[in-house]
């Protein structure tokens, strides 16, 4: 299995722990990752600026993948949503499709709708499979309660297919249990991390993230895990700011990528998984996991 790794802006410019852990774990499970030579932003944060930019931007990304004959892994929920939406909308609207291709033609590209887009949760759960993961891990992690935060765009909207659904157990939760940890539900599981409020009001955004963390702590979770760079940026990176803004000094919980947890189970070194880049107290979890 070979895929084009379309990182998107957030992962490639600051969430290096996600990229490092993806690059370290997926090849061990038989997934080859190709680094693109030409890439652009998917356009998710620019939707408010221009309705049409995301279609052009995403079709361009997929045309690049098509030119290499590869499908895409998009590790960011936002990118994954926008790419899927573009596939769906361009298929339904031939006029939009030809308008986009008109532009791409000038860059020597063509989008036909052949390239598929996958999120790491689909790669791990649907392509690799729980069985292969269970048989590949070097050691089972202890039964520590961990809360998953799939992130909005992994489940919404229901207008077109999303990797996860609210009806029934999450793939992410099954993956958590596959490496020995215990998936612990919490009331904010399907809520938004607040990342997209940051440009309007950092304080409002951080209050949102703080609320999620508090509820995870309240149900006794020992960590929060996600596969979205925006969610982890908020839940991991903004804990200090959340303490200052809410005045609640108890806001402290390890927040990390599922691929980092998976890496630990695969026997990888925490340095290789970029765990010194997490801002939350991941060392607390590492201590518990090591025994």
């Amino acid at each position: 299995m070979k895929f084009l790794l379309y990182l998107g802006c957030t992962t490639a410019t600051k969430q290096y722990g996600y990229e490092l852990s993806l690059r370290a774990t997926l090849p061990l499970l038989g997934v080859e990752l190709e680094h693109p030579k030409d890439m652009n932003c998917c356009g998710v944060p620019m939707k408010g600026i221009s309705k049409f930019y995301p279609y052009y931007a995403c079709a361009r990304i997929m045309a690049l993948a098509e030119s290499q004959g590869l499908d895409i892994i998009a590790p960011c929920n936002g990118c994954h949503l926008n790419l899927t939406e573009t596939i769906y909308k361009l298929k339904l609207n031939p006029l939009l499709m030809s308008a986009v291709n008109e532009l791409l033609k000038e860059e020597g590209l063509k989008y036909t709708g052949k390239a598929m887009v996958y999120h790491p949760v689909e790669i791990l759960h649907d392509k690799i499979g729980i069985e292969k993961i269970t048989s590949s891990i070097k050691r089972k992690l202890p039964e520590i309660p961990v809360s998953s935060h799939p992130g909005c765009h992994l489940i919404r909207p229901t207008e077109f297919p999303r990797p996860e659904t609210r009806d029934g157990p999450l793939k992410l939760d099954r993956l958590i249990e596959a490496i020995g940890l215990k998936a612990r539900d919490y009331p904010e599981k399907y809520e938004c991390c607040g990342a997209a409020i940051l440009p309007y009001s950092p304080e409002a955004a951080i209050k949102t993230a703080a609320f999620r963390i508090k509820r995870a702590l309240a149900v006794g979770s020992k960590a929060i895990t996600s596969l979205c760079p925006y969610c982890i940026d908020m839940l991991d990176g903004k804990q200090d700011a959340a303490k200052t803004i809410t005045g609640d000094q108890n806001i402290s919980i390890p927040a990390l990528y599922y691929t980092q947890l998976l890496g630990l189970a695969l026997g990888l070194d925490e340095k290789e998984l970029g765990m010194s880049l997490n801002m939350s107290p991941v060392e607390v979890l590492l201590e518990e996991v090591k025994v």
Partner: protein, 144 residues
């Protein structure tokens, strides 16, 4: 109002209520909304899209208002301007940053052994297209 009761932004931003925005548009107050910063508060969680029993999508209304405000030459909140500038400069909303690790090392992609972040190959053509699909008006506003 299922949209506003579920709304992520409504819980933390006082004057942001998706049902009110839709009602204001219907009552003919689009201009007032377009000239107000409140339309930039949406967290794009898409819950309003899912919850509305009448299948109204307040999210789409808010995005249309944002697009219209840009088309009329209004300046969005600073971070959006920065992101748009960066797209016109490197093709991404921001460039790779230096991050302080827990061992007090300043690291970026090179230090971590990660390959360079690719840019659009024919950048001038890409930029021309981005301007064409809706950034043109913004270009005048932010002077890039």
């Amino acid at each position: 109002m299922k949209c506003s009761s579920g709304c992520t932004a409504a819980k933390v931003v006082n004057n942001y209520r998706p049902h009110e925005i839709v009602a204001l548009v219907k009552a003919g107050y689009s201009d007032e909304l377009i000239n107000s910063d409140v339309i930039w508060a949406c967290s794009v969680c898409l819950k309003c899209v899912e919850y509305c029993p009448q299948r109204v999508s307040p999210f789409e209304v808010v995005m249309a208002l944002r697009n219209e405000s840009i088309a009329r030459g209004r300046v969005p909140p600073k971070s959006f301007v920065e992101m748009a500038k960066s797209v016109l400069k490197v093709g991404h909303i921001q460039e790779p940053m230096y991050i302080m690790s827990k061992d007090f090392e300043e690291v970026s992609r090179t230090e971590l052994g990660l390959p360079e972040m690719p840019k659009p190959k024919d950048f001038e053509k890409f930029k021309q297209h981005v301007l064409l699909v809706g950034f043109e008006k913004l270009k005048e506003v932010i002077r890039v």
